[in-house]
Amino acid sequence: MSNNEHDVTRRQFLNYTLTGVGGFMAAGMLMPMLRFAVDPLLQNKTSGKMVAVTNVSQLTNEPQRFTFKVKKVDGWHTFEEQKIAYIYKKENGEILALSPICTHLGCTVSWNDPAFPNEFHCPCHGGRYTKSGINIPGTPPPEPLHVYDQKVKGGTVYLGEDHPRGGS
């Protein structure tokens, strides 16, 4: 058979097949390693259970700092992560539980700092929020403090995950 009327030469044919087979072999080696490396991107998030934090009777109209622990699994490391919530009762009796993680770059805010009465203040870049956690315009944070999921059962306040509230 001559290859006069074909435009693939023997050399090209061998080049293509060898590159193809070699490519498959290399991919077979590399794919598992790459999938292994990107695994953290593809692990599904486990949402934690609600945790008992305090008694409703403890709550006032003034935000108070409560700490609670949630069980965390970080690969081969299982530990109790300490979390903070500022909780108070609004005028209408609703309970609001705020996360103190600054929405600017993640430092921890505190309530009623002597220099910033009746506000949440972040020491890192001077972020400020009102009592209900709304960021004060002109300070760095781009959105309000996140709010914890919460429920009350038998006089006990339980908290879950925290979520952004939207708006600013």
Binding site: M33, R35, F36
Partner: protein, 223 residues
């Protein structure tokens, strides 16, 4: 697109001769299994290199999850093997690849020995080859401790005991390798450093010397 990019770089750096030098290098007939099937014995050197590449690649990925600490090493290996996608495969490549590497080195050495390729002018490359063999055994020995299970622990105790039996300086060698008076936290940290930094660096240096010498001297002639 790619061709254009290539031309752009080539125009500035003249890179064509670099790869042409390798691509146009002829494989002599007596080492090409396409001509004489028995010439497959000449493949063992290349196969050794191939398995070393696999060891280095899979090792680089394993260290993404592995931690060299006595409290956590075993758990991290358990996690990467059982909880991470393809963990069993990536660890399997490294685990089985270690043995395959050593088998390949051995076969390659046999080929060099029985074809007399170690004779003048290639004595230096035989010496580099022996050093490579020791470095690879060292990688096997230090790597074996890393999973920190019972087998790893006692294999290392045995190995260190053997090192301690060297006349006069054995005790020092043992303490130096062990990093402590027990096989423990410091041993693991040390073996890890040796396994992933020191020996691979030496290995790459020796491989470079090995290959440069082969290019200089060519493959030894037909029998």
């Amino acid at each position: 697109m790619l061709a254009k990019l290539y031309d752009w770089i080539d125009e500035r750096l003249d890179i064509t001769p670099m790869w042409r030098d390798l691509a146009d290098h002829e494989v002599p007939e007596h080492v090409n299994p396409a001509y004489h099937f028995s010439a497959f014995v000449y493949c063992f050197g290349g196969l050794t290199f191939f398995t070393i590449v696999i060891q280095i690649l899979s090792g680089m990925f394993l260290v993404m999850y592995y931690v060299p600490d006595i409290d956590r090493a075993w758990d991290s290996v358990f996690y990467l093997q059982n909880k991470v996608a393809y963990g069993q495969i990536v660890r399997g490549m490294h685990h089985w690849g270690a043995s395959v590497t050593i088998v390949m080195v051995f076969l390659h050495t046999l080929r060099v020995f029985f074809t007399g390729a170690y004779k003048k002018p290639r004595e230096l490359n035989w010496i580099v080859g022996v050093l490579l063999f020791f470095v690879i055994l060292g990688l096997g020995f230090t790597g074996y401790l890393l999973p920190w299970d019972m087998k790893a622990l006692f294999a290392t105790k045995v190995g260190l005991q053997i090192a301690a039996s060297v006349p006069f300086i054995g005790g020092w060698i043992q303490t130096l390798l062990q990093g402590s008076d027990v096989v423990g936290a410091q041993t693991l940290a040390r073996f890890f450093a040796i396994h992933v930094f020191f020996l691979p660096a030496v290995l790459l240096g020796l491989l470079a010397a090995h290959f440069i010498m082969i290019r200089r001297q060519g493959i030894s002639g037909p029998l």
